[in-house]
Structures are given as structure tokens and as C-alpha cells.
């Protein structure tokens, strides 16, 4: 069987607020014997601010990172939904426009890499490793855990850019976590926006949008929510207590990164998954289900 090796682009969040995503990703990949080499000297993809201010800048930041990644063996593994979206968008835009490609090549003083594969972790687990091999690696199946898979905006959209799964009715998260033995719930708000970075400038909007998501997950009978995006995680996890206060309700829904849940199923311990970093304490749930 072919060995899997990837160049790893953690992105800024994983070195800051989403440290547990970074930790659990590395540990999970180690456990699954998938090679992961952090790209030397990688830097910010530009995230939301850059493309709102200067298109050339945002494209150049991504193009340069793609060029750096090219020097490391393997396709590029990306954990953050926003980095994933920016890198894919840059490839898409530069592939469509010769004019922009030439501008960017001048800016970064290097040829643009359009053929390198940028892959979200979900894609690596579901397609490269494959669900069968993933299921074979599971030694502590998450039986009886009802998971609400939350995609947010950027993992699948816009329709023609990320090509991770169907833009309007994706199933890739459900397929991955079902391979880990969990149950998934059918719920209505898995593709709605959480408010993203309005969490700082317009928190009222975020509280309203995030509340609707939590309410829908709870109503569908979920025990927890699974995400693949640090910003969604921040809004759903960090803001959850505040939302419960504002809307006089109680959710108590732990919000896991996909790598944390899959990590649990392959037998990784709490210390290797950064479970202590979560604001909504998952321990009672995990103990009740007998996973820890």
C-alpha cells in the first residue's frame, strides 16, 4: 500500500486559539501512520481581511505559500476551512486569469503553482486514506454518540471552487465520523453561517446566528457538534455560555474538531487531543458514553 505523506499548512489559528486542532491533527496522523511535514517558513494566507482589501495581496500570499509547499513532499494538507478556501480560491482565480497570474508571479518573483493539490483533512481521511482503512484503524468505536456535523460556509462553497463535496448537500463529514463508529443526526442548520469574524465587530449578529445553529442541533437530538473550522469552533464553543445566558436556555453541547473525535476512536487519550482546551467541558459526556 502506498505511503501517505503530506506537507502540512496549519495556518495561524492552529498556532493560537485552535492549538488543540493542531495537536489532535498531528497525533491522529501519527496514529494513522500518515506522514505530515510542516511547511518551513509558511505564513498567513491572508484570511478574510486580505481579500477584502487587496486582491493582488491576497492572491500573492496564497501563491507564495503554495510555492513553499511545493518544496515539501506530498499534497498540501490544510486543517482550517478558511485557509483551505483561500488557497483553493487563489488556485481557481489564477487558473482562470492570465493577467492576474502574471501580476502575482511578478509580486512573488516565482512561477505560480496551479497543479499542486490542496486537500482538507476531511478529504485525506475520506478519499486518500479511504473510509475502509479508517474504519479498520478504529479500536474504540464511538458507539452511541450522536454527532451533529457542522460544515459552516467555506468547506464546500462556492460550488465550483473547493470541490470537497456537493455544495448544497454534502455528506463527507458524516461519512468520516460514521466510519469512526458514531451516529450522525439529520439537522437543518449544518450549512448555515455562524457569523464568522463578526464575532468581534457585531457580536449581536453572531449570537443570533450561532444560537439558531445550536438550537437546531439540540432539537435534532445531538450529543455534540463536530467542526472543521477554527472560527466556527470559536463561535459555537467559546460563545456558547454567553448565548445560553442571552437566550435563557441551556445547550451544553461540546464542540469537537473532527480530528479530536476521530482521534478518540483510534484510541488517543485526552492529553493527546487537547480536550482540556474546550470551553464546553466534554468530559461528562465522554465518560457517560464510556469513551474515557
Amino acid at each position: 500500500m502506498k505511503e501517505l505523506n503530506y506537507s502540512y499548512y496549519p495556518g495561524c489559528s492552529l498556532h493560537a486559539s485552535a492549538g488543540e486542532y493542531d495537536l489532535s491533527t498531528r497525533e491522529l496522523f501519527k496514529a494513522l501512520r500518515i506522514g505530515l511535514t510542516e511547511i518551513p517558513d509558511w505564513f498567513c494566507c491572508g484570511a478574510t481581511p486580505a481579500h477584502n482589501v487587496d486582491e493582488l495581496l491576497s492572491l500573492s500570499l496564497c501563491a507564495k505559500n503554495l510555492e513553499l509547499a511545493d518544496k515539501v513532499e506530498g499534497d498540501m494538507a490544510v486543517a482550517c476551512a478558511s485557509c483551505f478556501s483561500r488557497l483553493k480560491t487563489a488556485q481557481h482565480v489564477l487558473g482562470e486569469s492570465d493577467v492576474k497570474r502574471k501580476q502575482v508571479e511578478k509580486a512573488i518573483d516565482a512561477p505560480v503553482k496551479l497543479d499542486s493539490n490542496v486537500k482538507h483533512l476531511l478529504e485525506i481521511l475520506a478519499k486518500d486514506l479511504g473510509l475502509e482503512r479508517l474504519a479498520a484503524a478504529v479500536n474504540k468505536p464511538l458507539s452511541g454518540l450522536k454527532v451533529a456535523c457542522y460544515y459552516g460556509c467555506l468547506l464546500t462553497r462556492p460550488a465550483d471552487v473547493p470541490n470537497l463535496d456537493c455544495a448544497e448537500a454534502p455528506t463527507i463529514m458524516e461519512r468520516v465520523i460514521e466510519a469512526a463508529g458514531a451516529e450522525t443526526v439529520a439537522w437543518t442548520h449544518r450549512l448555515e453561517c455562524c457569523g464568522a469574524n463578526f464575532t468581534l465587530s457585531r457580536p449581536g449578529v453572531v449570537l443570533q446566528l450561532t444560537n439558531a445553529i445550536l438550537e437546531s442541533a439540540k432539537a435534532a437530538g445531538a450529543d455534540c457538534i463536530m467542526v472543521g473550522c477554527p472560527l466556527c469552533h470559536g463561535n459555537l464553543d467559546i460563545r456558547q455560555k454567553e448565548i445560553e445566558g442571552v437566550y435563557s436556555t441551556s445547550y451544553g453541547l461540546p464542540v469537537f474538531y473532527l480530528t479530536q473525535l476521530v482521534g478518540l476512536s483510534v484510541g488517543l487519550g485526552a492529553d493527546k487531543l487537547g480536550l482540556d482546551a474546550m470551553m464546553v467541558n466534554p468530559m461528562p459526556l465522554l465518560k457517560e458514553k464510556g469513551f474515557l
Partner: protein
């Protein structure tokens, strides 16, 4: 020695703007064999043609080249003029200096040089043109109409009323098509069945119409005036001659819970059934996939109760061959389904609307069946999920239509009007209900159409919201509609009881396969293509085949009926002559050289190449050679390009002529 006349057209300014036509005439006049060269502002006009005729007679011209537009445009015009002046029409050729030259170039000097080249080539080619005798073929004055909806019915009745026999073939067990499913029709709100069923009966009773229902086209051979059509009559399991249509079999059939396609699967039917009570013919069909007898070999109740003994389990599919002279294709439309589409389909379905999994999200045709007095609810608007009356209803227009990201960019044309109609029908039946409509634009061009739409808002209290819907989801027994109101610039959310989608009009499934059997062209959506969008809208590019109704593009009933009558008129024009003149640009085989390899026969797309035996005077077979049937040959030239011994040549395009053209450059 040829005396060639060359006539250079200005085409108003279309040619003369970029080509120096006087210089072209002067240069061409110097060529050997050219006796006369001139230019004129509009060669195709009456004075232009007169100039041509006069020159032929006065200058004693032997050949003519008209340098003007594309031969597709005016070749017939000029050949006719040449014929009127006493020359064989096939001694006239056109040099295309408009589409191939003036329209595509800007530099006058270069364009003029190119125009001279094009005309010189044509001069060399026309020198070697032969006098061609016209080909006449007989016309079989019977016609085939494919599809028994309103388009097919109208075309069949019009042709039959003129005294010509019509074969009408319908795939379903009854004629009537989609129009028979509709409740009421815009803009007059008259009951669709009331105006449709009499026409269906007229078809059944017409002495000149031969009806094949539950039948499909298997094979089409031949050419204009002389088609042989093989029709597959699917086994009905009921003898049409013996059945009296009493209906006892249907009341006794124990299988009563089969979704009825005619009722959009919300009503139920038996395994032996007619799709609806007014069906024509009123002869039931056994649905073999759902019949207990065919599944288990037991039951046979229908056979036992049938008085005349018409039920026949042993019946087989049969093939019938009919000879016809013209074909009208009227296969109609189908509605876009929002379900998940198979991988690789350019059409994507609607994941954001739940891929059709929410039971009270229905399409427009299903609403028609709910509103129809003959429908499964007896005309009451009731939710499919729980049978309750919806007090709020949301209509969403442009589902699939005008949505490039979903794979369809065209407008389905009828949805604005039928959605307005639906709001009225709803308001008439649910007095305390409220209808909302999400729409992009209201497109209501048509007699009394805009007034009708206004009425739905002003008198029937429909609330129109300009904007699109992003998502639908079930919340308890309600459906949440998330959309935008772009007039106010806000997001709107409506909790409603029922949603009706105005899904796009698409060609019938299998339209492409039928087109391949018929040899007609179709677009990327599988709509059939007319020969000319403006001037030949009901004819196919394939001679003798005509189009009617929504198989050519989305159409409402008035337009469909008009087009059907127009197609019938074209058929009658064809039938007005006993013999048909065909263009004699056909391939000929030089029998002396032919070795009988029949490479030409293999490549001929029209089946025009036959085998011919060459015998000596004693009747001994010497060899078998290829023979091109001039009645069938379409003059495409593929055989000429294929023939290894260079023994097939297309008149007007012989190797000798092509080489002469190249040498003229």
C-alpha cells in the same frame, strides 16, 4: 469556350464597406473564360435579378458566379433566376464574400485581395460544372405524428381534416399529454379537460387518423416523401378490439395502491388501469411490473371478470411498419426534478431544497392535479403529508430555469403565468389562505397575460416577493422558507404549510435517442433544433420532418397549438404535389473503376449506397459495384472522401474541381 458572367453584390454596405467591389469586378473581368463582370448594390433584389437575366441573354453566358452572401442564404434565389433566363440552374455558383470575407475582416485592401481570390476560385470551379437534370421522387401522402399531447393532436386533426391519412403514435396508454393533467388554463381559467377531451374524442373518431397508443418509434428509414417507420406496439395485455371499456376489471383488481403517474404519484391506481377516466382509447393496460399475475402467476381476477374476454396475458410486443411521407415530432416536455442527480449530469438538482425529500414541497404539475376536479383530492388543495388544508402556501418561481449554476440557463416561459394562475386557484379554494410568490421577474408577454398577472396581486391577494429562496427545511409540520426580498433589501423567513416549485420545463426523457433515430439535430438541453430560428421555425434541417410544441423549446398552449397548425400546413404543402423535386447534387459511381469494396456503403450516414450487379449480355454476373440511390443521397461527400479507387464523385465537388480551385489561388 465558357462565357462566364460574374456578378458582385454590395449587399447594401455589408460587403462594399470592406471590399472594393468595383476593383473585384475589374480584376475578375480579366480572367480567361469570364465574358462579363459587374457589380450591383443588391443582387438579390428584383432589379438585381433582372440584371442577371438580361446579361445571360445579351452576353450569351454559359456559366454564372454570383459573389455575395452565403449560398445557404440565396443560392436558391439565383439558381431560379438563372433557370428563368434559360440556363441549367446548376451552372450557377455562389462565392461567399460576405460571411467569409467582409464581415470578418477590417482591412479593406486585404479583404479586397481575398475577395478576388474567392471569386477566382469559384470561376474555376463553375467552368467544370455539369448540366444536372432535376431528380423527382414520389410522395407518400400519409404522415406520422409522434406524440399525442395537444401539439400532436392539433397537427393530426389539421392534416386529417385536409383528407390525408395520419398515423398518431403515443408512448403512454392514452393520448392527452400534459394538457389533460392541467386543472384550469391561463389567461381565461377555462377547464383544461373541458377543452381537451373533445379534441381527444375527435382524434379517436376521425376516419383518417390511425391511433397507436402505448407504442414507440423503433426505427425510421428513408427520406422526405418516402419514410418507412417501424413502430413498437407494447403489449397492452388487453385486446383493443374486444374490450368495451366497461371498467369492471379495474374495480376488481386487488392491487389498488400503485402510484398513478398521471396524478403525479399522489393518487393511486390499480394494476390494470386507464390513466384517467376520460382516457382515449378507453382501453385499460396491465402494468406488468405491479400485476400479481405477472409477478407470481396467481390472481387473474381481471381475466375472470372480463365479459368479452379481452384480457390476454400472453400478448407480446409487436412491430408494425408504416410508410409515410412526412413526420411531425411533437414529443413535448417534462419537468425538472429537484432530486439528487446522477454523477456527471450537468444538471445538479436542489440540495438546498432537500433534494425533494420534504413531502409538502411539490412541483407545479402536482399542484395542477390537486386543483383539478378530476384529481386525487377531487379538487381540494390538501397537503400530501397529512391531508390538511394549507393555510399558507409559498410558490417559488425559476426553480432550475435561468439558473446557470444548476445547468440550465434558459427561461421556461410558462411558469410566471401558471404560478399567477395557481395563486388564484388557491385563493378560490382556500378563502382564508395566504399565498406568497418568490420571483425574479414577471415575464408575461402575451395577449391578456399581464392583466392576468396583475389580477392575481390586485384582486386575488397574492403577495409577490422579488427575490430568490436560498433554502427550505422542515420544522415540525411547517416548512421554513429562507429567502431574500431584494426590493426592500432584507432577508425573509416564512414558516409555511406547503411549497410549490415552478420547476423548469425540459424535453421529454429520451428525446435525444428519438432524435438519433429520426436523424434530426438537438441542442445541449435535448430540445430539437429548427432549421432557422426565425424563418423556418417549424421545420427540421432534415427534409420532411417538422416540429410542434414544447419538444422544440418551452411553450404555452396557444403557442403550441399555433405551431402544430403551422407544422400541419407545412405537411400539406409537401402533400400538394405528387412528385417532389430534389436537388441533384448527389454522388455518382464510376462503375468501370469500382472494385466493389463498399467502403462507401459503410460510411454513408443516409443508407444511400446500394449494391448493383453488372451482367454481360448473356446474363452472367461480371461484378458487383456500388450504386448511389439519388433519391436518398444527401450530397454530403463522405463516400467521395472514402473511396480508395477514387470512383465516387459528388457533382459540383469533384476532385478535378477542387484542384482547379486550389490552382486558381
Amino acid at each position: 469556350m465558357s462565357r462566364i458572367g460574374v456578378f458582385i453584390c454590395h449587399c447594401g454596405e455589408n460587403i462594399s464597406r470592406t471590399v472594393d467591389v468595383e476593383r473585384v469586378a475589374a480584376e475578375i473581368g480579366k480572367l480567361s473564360g469570364v465574358a462579363f463582370a459587374t457589380d450591383y448594390k443588391y443582387m438579390c433584389s428584383d432589379p438585381g435579378q433582372n440584371l442577371l437575366k438580361k446579361a445571360i441573354q445579351e452576353q450569351k453566358l454559359t456559366h454564372v458566379v454570383v459573389a455575395a452572401c452565403s449560398p445557404r442564404m440565396h443560392e436558391k434565389t439565383f439558381r431560379k433566376a438563372v433557370e428563368a433566363a434559360g440556363l441549367n440552374p446548376f451552372l450557377c455558383e455562389m462565392a461567399n464574400i460576405r460571411e467569409h470575407c467582409s464581415w470578418v475582416h477590417e482591412n479593406r485592401e486585404e479583404a479586397t485581395v481575398k475577395a478576388i481570390d474567392i471569386v477566382s476560385m469559384m470561376v474555376e470551379r463553375v467552368k467544370k460544372n455539369r448540366i444536372l437534370p432535376g431528380i423527382t421522387v414520389p410522395v407518400t401522402k400519409r404522415s406520422l405524428v409522434i406524440g399525442g399531447g395537444i401539439a400532436g393532436i392539433q397537427a393530426a386533426l389539421d392534416i386529417a381534416d385536409c383528407g390525408h391519412e395520419v398515423i398518431l403514435v403515443e408512448r403512454e396508454p392514452s393520448i392527452g399529454g400534459h394538457m389533460a393533467q392541467l386543472s384550469e388554463t391561463f389567461p381565461t381559467l377555462d377547464c383544461s379537460q373541458c377543452i381537451m377531451t373533445p379534441k381527444m374524442v375527435d382524434v379517436a373518431n376521425h376516419p383518417k387518423i390511425k391511433l397507436y397508443t402505448y407504442s414507440e418509434i423503433e426505427l425510421v428509414e428513408g427520406y422526405i416523401g418516402n419514410f418507412q417507420v417501424t413502430i413498437k406496439k407494447k403489449a397492452r395485455s388487453v385486446d383493443e378490439d374486444k374490450c368495451t371499456g366497461c371498467g369492471v376489471c379495474m374495480t376488481k383488481c386487488p392491487q389498488k395502491k400503485i402510484p398513478n403517474k398521471f396524478d403525479q404519484n399522489i393518487g393511486m391506481r390499480t394494476a390494470i388501469y386507464v390513466p384517467f377516466p376520460q382516457a382515449v382509447p378507453n382501453t385499460p393496460v396491465i402494468d406488468r411490473d405491479n400485476c400479481t399475475w405477472f409477478k407470481t402467476g396467481k390472481c387473474g381476477v381481471c381475466k375472470k371478470v372480463c365479459g368479452p374476454g379481452a384480457v390476454d396475458f400472453e400478448q407480446q410486443d409487436t412491430l408494425v411498419v408504416e410508410a409515410v411521407g412526412a413526420i411531425v415530432v411533437a414529443t413535448g416536455f417534462d419537468l425538472y426534478s429537484i432530486d439528487e442527480k446522477p454523477k456527471g449530469s450537468p444538471i445538479k438538482g436542489y440540495g438546498e431544497f432537500g433534494h425533494g425529500k420534504i413531502p409538502d414541497v411539490i412541483d407545479g404539475m402536482t399542484f395542477e392535479r390537486l386543483a383539478s376536479a378530476s384529481g386525487p383530492t377531487g379538487g381540494k388543495i390538501l397537503r400530501p403529508s397529512d391531508g390538511k388544508e394549507p393555510k399558507q402556501i409559498v410558490f417559488i418561481q425559476c426553480v432550475g430555469s435561468r439558473a446557470r449554476e444548476k445547468g440550465i440557463s434558459y427561461c421556461s416561459k410558462v411558469c410566471c403565468m401558471y404560478t399567477a394562475k395557481h395563486t388564484m386557484l388557491y385563493h378560490h379554494k382556500v378563502h382564508d389562505g395566504q399565498a406568497y410568490v418568490f420571483f425574479m421577474d414577471a415575464r408575461t408577454p402575451g395577449k391578456s397575460y399581464d392583466e392576468f398577472w396583475r389580477r392575481s396581486i390586485e384582486e386575488e391577494e397574492a403577495v409577490y416577493i422579488r427575490g430568490m429562496v436560498s433554502r427550505l427545511y422542515q420544522k415540525g409540520d411547517k416548512i421554513v422558507v429562507m429567502g431574500s426580498d431584494i426590493a426592500v433589501g432584507v432577508q425573509v423567513e416564512i414558516e409555511t404549510d406547503m411549497v410549490v416549485l415552478a420547476t423548469a420545463v425540459q424535453p421529454q426523457k429520451g428525446a435525444d435517442l428519438l432524435a438519433q433515430k429520426l436523424g434530426i439535430s438537438y441542442d445541449k438541453y435535448n430540445f430539437y433544433s429548427e432549421a432557422h430560428a426565425k424563418l423556418r421555425p417549424v421545420e427540421c434541417a432534415t427534409a420532411g420532418i417538422y416540429l410542434a410544441g414544447a419538444c422544440q423549446g418551452p411553450k404555452d398552449i396557444p403557442e403550441t397549438v399555433s405551431q402544430a397548425s403551422a407544422a400541419a400546413a407545412k405537411v400539406m404543402t409537401l402533400f400538394s404535389k405528387d412528385k417532389l423535386e430534389r436537388e441533384p447534387i448527389v454522388a455518382r459511381v464510376r462503375e468501370a473503376g469500382c472494385v466493389g469494396c463498399f467502403a462507401c456503403k459503410k460510411v454513408c450516414a443516409y443508407g444511400a449506397v446500394e449494391e448493383k450487379e453488372i451482367r454481360d449480355r448473356q446474363g452472367n454476373l461480371i461484378k458487383v459495384v456500388a450504386y448511389v440511390n439519388p433519391g436518398v443521397c444527401a450530397g454530403c461527400g463522405t463516400c467521395q472522401a472514402t473511396c480508395p479507387s477514387k470512383c465516387v464523385e459528388l457533382d459540383g465537388y469533384t476532385d478535378e474541381q477542387i484542384i482547379a480551385m486550389i490552382e486558381a489561388l
